[in-house]
């Protein structure tokens, strides 16, 4: 009974919605990245690693330039570089895409941990370097409930949602998008029509690097202003699940990311609920919650969604 009370309390609290948006944002970015890559037919599980690199290097560049926005911006090429490595191994060398992705995650974890002491002088986590300031949306602030939830918001959240629509537009309204979808479904057909299959796949994978990097940057300079080792905490994989749940569609991925973000927000709010008085030692149990939700969703809904037909299969010209 108390539990239901607590739930109602949470649902009527604008904080819950605000936290949902912030928790969903990195997932939205990363799952869009997944959509870019897999629509063209390349599986990219390295999102977790690219996010980590994005988080780390945006802190590095913020430290150097003093501006968190520059930090975010300059971290993007790093994400693109990581993605390029994956594209290179998968497209040119027809490597095992899942193993290549796992390798890049390890490299990312290694590099970010490795550079902590040389650059920041201390292991574990950096000091505060700078954070992207929230902006007030004029007019919205005064609106009750809505104002508290989204009246004051991190601009990157807006960028995330804008990216969803930009991605959708690209994929479904432009010729490039049509070709991307064709390449992921039947690369041989596209090839016979003179479409550059390799080029389009490189594009898809590198764009996934851009997106994942933004997702990671949000975690560091967007939310907390510093970097902590392994701070992505599995979000890259939850983003993959969001992409699958969203049926490889940008709008679907957005809704799925919101669902997973909400589960994280729910866990967070339950922990600090004034109604339930949960002891601090049970924190890990609440941390488990988003992963259990993801697991259940993955189990229940897979098979009902349809990946691009050539997803994960390297394309080799029969020349």
């Amino acid at each position: 009974m108390r539990f239901i009370e607590a739930l109602l309390d949470i649902f009527t609290n604008p904080q819950f919605y605000k936290i949902t948006l912030t928790a969903s944002t990195p997932l939205i970015f990363a799952s869009l990245g997944g959509v870019f890559s897999e629509t063209t037919g390349v599986v990219n599980i390295a999102l977790e690693g690219i996010m980590l690199m994005g988080a780390f290097f945006s802190v590095v560049f913020t430290q150097i330039t003093g501006s968190p926005w520059l930090g975010v911006f300059l971290a993007i090429p790093i994400g693109m570089g990581m993605a390029w490595l994956h594209a290179w191994a998968s497209i040119k060398w027809c490597g095992n895409q899942i193993v290549s992705g796992a390798a890049l995650i390890l490299i990312a974890q290694g590099v970010t941990g490795f550079l902590m002491e040389p650059i920041f002088g201390q292991p574990g986590q950096t000091d505060f370097v700078g954070k992207i300031a929230e902006i007030k949306i004029p007019g919205l602030c005064k609106v009750p409930f809505l104002g508290q939830a989204i009246g004051q918001i991190n601009p990157l959240v807006i960028v995330a949602f804008a990216s969803v629509f930009a991605t959708w537009f690209l994929l479904y309204k432009t010729t490039l998008g049509l070709r991307m979808r064709a390449v992921g479904e039947n690369p041989e057909s596209a090839d016979t029509l003179g479409i550059n299959v390799y080029g389009i796949r490189y594009f898809g994978v590198i764009m996934s690097g851009v997106m994942a990097s933004l997702g990671g940057s949000f975690l560091s300079v967007g939310e907390v202003g510093n970097f902590r080792e392994l701070m992505t905490g599995g979000r890259g994989f939850i983003a993959l699940a969001a992409m699958i749940l969203g049926n490889w569609n940008p709008i679907g991925a957005m809704w799925a990311s919101l669902l997973f973000g909400a589960s994280e927000a729910m866990a967070n709010q339950l922990q600090s609920s004034p109604i339930l008085h949960v002891p601090a030692t049970t924190k890990p149990l609440f941390n488990m919650f988003p992963f259990i939700v993801t697991l259940v969703v993955v189990a229940g809904l897979i098979g009902k969604t349809r990946p691009p037909a050539a997803d994960g299969i390297p394309y080799e010209k029969s020349e």
């Binding site: 899942i98 890049l104 390890l106 290694g110 490795f114 488990m288 992963f291 897979i302």
Partner: protein, 347 residues
């Protein structure tokens, strides 16, 4: 299928390791340290003295087992990234059992604890296996979710129900009778007999894969699930069973860590050994013999990395080396092409 693929499966991983070490030395240079000094420290840390060698062998044991776990999975056509979580569950349940085996003679206590650890790991993996068999859920996503769940679950267990003492969260010690007898004692380090068990496990895995009908079916399902099903092999049974066996090996790794090394569940128990299992399996080309060598190699890297810290090279360099090796093994054509070009240049 190339006729010389046996030779390649030997040469590629070794070449990959050498290339990775070379690339890593560039990284070391970038932070202003001397790679030669660094690698000297690495070798000293791994093999310099009986203590170091003992440490290396202790670290090899769980790596052989997680390597076998991932390797067996690969042969069966599943990518078991969940060895980490399965190891944790194996360790956790083995601890719970081991704590309560006070009056029982070791002859019973030890096998029972090991078995329960294996069952825990098997069960944890079977969840992902069953999901894949029934719903087609991709085992990469589901096992990683299970990893995190296992991590948090065990973290909770040692901070609340099982907690003992202060400082790093840890469980009470297991009963004397459930502890593995040491092989050798060198200084303060007891080298456990776990290594024997790991080697036996590798031999058993070899026999299963190459000499038994089960092995025939597992490999068939891994190579071509359609033909296997057509040939009467039940794919869903196979997937679940293969994940379970894989999980059992990882669970055993966890149980042995508790029984032989720490004698309790430590909050920081697995420390990435599950992911190391992936590197070991790939370097060892999923073959039990290769896995044993690869495990020894990884263990030496890990032990040696502590020494590298003293000369100013952070431990994380090992992760970078590992990542590069796996990357090159995934895209092994890169390595093959480099080697062929080198051969051509020489001739």
């Amino acid at each position: 299928m190339r006729p010389d693929s046996r030779i390649w499966s030997f040469v590629v991983p070794i070449a990959a390791v050498i290339l990775a070490l070379m690339i890593a030395s560039i990284v070391i240079l970038l932070i202003g340290k001397n790679p030669v000094v660094a690698y000297e420290a690495l070798i000293k840390g791994a093999f310099g003295g009986r203590q170091a060698i003992a440490d290396t062998i202790i670290k090899t044991t769980p790596l052989i087992l997680t390597g076998l776990a991932v390797g067996f999975g690969f042969r069966a056509g599943v990518f078991n990234i969940g060895a980490e979580g399965q190891m944790i569950m194996g360790a956790l349940i083995a601890t719970v059992v081991g704590i309560n085996l006070g009056g029982v003679p070791p002859v019973i206590a030890i096998p029972v604890t090991m078995l329960i650890g294996m069952l825990a790991g098997a069960g944890w993996a079977a969840i992902a296996g069953y999901l894949k068999a029934k719903t087609g859920a991709h085992e990469v996503v589901s096992t990683i979710m299970l990893n995190w769940i296992a991590t948090y679950l065990s973290s909770y267990m040692v901070t609340e129900p099982l907690a003992v003492g202060s400082g790093t969260p840890k469980s009470p010690e297991i009963a004397e009778s459930a502890k593995l007898p040491p092989l050798l004692t060198i200084g303060a380090t007891e080298m456990t007999s776990g290594i024997i068990i790991a080697i036996v496990a590798a031999i058993i895995m070899y026999i299963i894969l190459e000499k038994t009908t089960t092995g025939y079916e597992v490999k068939a399902a891994g190579f071509n699930p359609y033909a296997a099903e057509y040939g009467g092999i039940s794919i869903s049974k196979n997937i679940t069973m293969s994940m379970a066996i894989s999980g059992a090996l990882a669970g055993l790794a966890g149980a042995l860590e508790v029984m032989g090394v720490h004698h309790r569940f430590l909050g920081t128990l697995s420390g990435g050994k599950g992911f190391d299992g992936i590197s070991v399996a790939l370097i060892g080309q999923n073959h039990p013999i290769g896995i044993m060598f690869a495990a020894f190699l990884m263990a030496s890297l890990r032990t040696g990395s502590n020494e590298m810290q003293f000369v100013g090279v952070p431990k994380h360099i090992i992760m970078i080396i590992q990542g590069i090796v796996i990357f090159l093994v995934a895209a092994d054509r890169i390595v093959r092409t480099i080697l062929i070009r080198k051969k051509k240049v020489r001739s």
